[in-house]
């Protein structure tokens, strides 16, 4: 089956220069921020690919590019044809359920908007029935339709966001940190809901998060991003069992693990450099324990290392050897 989404060499550059007059008078140079720098990935139909990384790595920019909220500077984003022959279209669930719902609209109108806009139902009574159905699907009651967003808790608002995203009858959902504004117990409700919706409606997810444990729970494949590039992509189990890129290893080491707390392990040092002035060569080299001279000069390309894993690291051969080649024989 063709992948639901194919992204090729996608880039997005933001011009963050000072205004023209300041540049002329103060002789400030143009400043370009490469938020996304030539990334490629595919999302299989019915699957879930997650993009993880720390703030500023470009993962939310990818979400906005894929949903068309930003125009790409370069590269292609291609959705395939669905079962019905129509092109798959994507809907989005945003991070902040307080900012993404119009406070002046009733929940009924919020959810009905995509239905009316896309002309998915004939007439007002069919639309009403559909809104009631959607509320049931996300675990709210029909009475909630007449309320305003401020009457709901964060988790309930995120349910409304999900209902609105489902209202457009999408096959593809882009979820940008959908649970990071929620408490843990509510996060579990939303993640469970999203998993069951995926099974029920055959949805495909592009899931964006900084939380590796959430990502592990949700995804089939994971792409780790660092400063606008994908540094490693693998299926969930092999990434967690056998991380190859030094940055992936750092991320996995630093997540607090409640099953096996390791208060004695010294944490890795260093911070993410400014994306305005990325270091030359491999952008991770200043923090990398493995870096050599080549890493400081040459940008490593993302290479296929077999068994569906891709890594952007000059020293990947040594990593594989150190891991007993188990990644390749898996």
């Amino acid at each position: 089956m063709k992948p639901a989404l194919v992204v090729r060499d996608l880039s997005r550059v933001f011009d963050v220069s000072a205004p023209l007059l300041n540049r002329l008078i103060e002789r400030k140079p143009r400043m370009l921020l490469r938020a996304v720098d030539g990334i490629s990935f595919e999302v299989p139909q019915g699957g879930c690919l997650s993009l993880v990384g720390e703030s500023g790595c470009g993962k939310s920019t990818v979400a906005r590019l894929v949903t068309g909220l930003y125009r790409p500077t370069d590269g292609q984003i291609e959705f395939s044809l669905g079962d019905s022959g129509d092109r798959i279209h994507a809907h989005m669930i945003f991070q902040d359920p307080y900012a993404s719902l119009n406070p002046r609209w009733r929940v009924r109108d919020i959810i009905a908007e995509p239905i009316r806009e896309l002309g998915l139902r004939d007439g007002e009574s069919a639309t009403r029935a559909r809104v009631d159905e959607l509320l049931g699907i996300v675990g709210l009651s029909q009475r909630d339709a007449e309320k305003f967003p401020h009457e709901f808790s964060g988790g309930q608002r995120q349910r409304i966001s999900i209902a609105r995203a489902l209202a457009g009858e999408p096959k593809f959902l882009v979820c940008d940190e959908p649970t990071s504004a929620l408490d843990v117990s509510v996060q579990a409700q939303i993640l469970n809901l999203m998993r069951s919706l995926q099974d029920e409606f055959g949805l495909t997810y592009l899931f964006i998060s900084h939380d590796l444990s959430v990502v592990r729970h949700m995804s089939d494949r994971i792409a780790v991003m660092y400063l606008g590039r994908i540094v490693e992509e693998a299926d969930t189990e092999s990434l967690f069992d056998n991380p190859l890129h030094p940055y992936t290893r750092l991320l996995l080491q630093t997540i607090p693990d409640i099953e096996a707390p390791r208060p004695d392990v010294p944490p890795a040092t260093g911070e993410v450099p400014s994306p305005l002035k990325p270091p030359p060569g491999c952008t991770f080299h200043p923090r990398c324990p493995e870096a050599d001279d080549r890493c400081k000069r040459e940008v490593p390309e993302v290479r296929d290392v077999g068994h569906g894993r891709r890594v952007a690291c000059h020293r990947v051969a040594e990593m594989l050897k150190r891991n007993g080649m188990s990644a390749l024989s898996a």
């Binding site: 720390e54 703030s55 808790s153 964060g154 988790g155 309930q156 408490d183 843990v184 117990s185 509510v186 996060q187 579990a188 409700q189 993640l191 469970n192 998993r195 900084h210 590796l212 444990s213 959430v214 592990r216 729970h217 969930t236 189990e237 967690f240 750092l250 991320l251 080491q253 630093t254 997540i255 607090p256 693990d257 409640i258 099953e259 707390p261 390791r262 208060p263 010294p266 944490p267 890795a268 040092t269 911070e271 993410v272």
Partner: protein, 339 residues
Amino acid sequence: MPDTLTDSPMSTAASTAEPVLRVRNLSVSFPGRRGVLKALDDISFDLAPGEILGMVGESGAGKSMTGLAVQRLLEPPGHISGGEVHLLGQRIDQLPEAQMERLRGKQIGAVFQDPLTSLNPLFTVGHQISETIRVHLGGSRRAAMDQARELLRRVGIPSPDDRVNHYPHQFSGGMRQRVVIALALAAQPRLIIADEPTTALDVSIQAQIMSLLRRLCDETGVAMLLVTHDMGVIAQTADRIAVMYAGRLIELAPVHEVLRQPRHPYTRGLIGAIPALRKRAPRLTQIDGSMPRLDSIPQGCAFNPRCPEAGPRCRAHRPELSATPAGKVACWLNDGGVA
């Protein structure tokens, strides 16, 4: 306690058995038009020197409120409506504001979530730290500046000799939080209240800050009340956990005990709700519903409408904290009880 304690310039810890902080039956109320809201209801706990007590709960459970009440920083009309707070044996909940002001910074250091709002953008970090030292401890400007350098070095800021002359905006998020920690430690306090100190930071930086806080508590004997929603952070750093729900303390026990065998059904749900790192479960344990608002706390145990094990007793009567083998729990089911 490590031997660095003796040679450490910041060491103020005397290894006494007396707790640094003793909170007894603390209640905080907010009078409003529609009656009085009880934001904290009968909270009691102790904090020993060098100990980190992690306080967890959902938003609105009262964990930040506890930190603010101890520092007497409640926004009016909120006020302490009952109970006592003792710091180093001195009762502080009724102190006049002027005396309380001297305690803040001197005996109680504070680290808040957003490092940028805790620092004054108009002064260099060296100036801010040395001013704090001089206000609380006196001494010359030069000596205070030397101490500021030493503090920045202790919290792991590279090249502190240059960095003292920098302004907050010249630091990254993680480095700023280190500056805030240095500032909190400046007057050699005995208690630090850290309210979500790593929530605004990335995971790899979060790990650095948490291990720094742990090390400082071990080295200087300062006690810390660590308020966070992140059970992982607490598992990694704290000695004991206090679980809050709807303004009440419902479980208090050593970290490993709580993680191994949570006693309260809410704590069990909270731990089960965290996606596991080791294996992928098809479904997460979820606690249905959400925490009640303060104006509609149900009768009996506040958790009873969401509790899978609730019985008639839970709906009628409120359970008090009772002893477990290692700690305390407020649940009727404790010790073979009937719900």
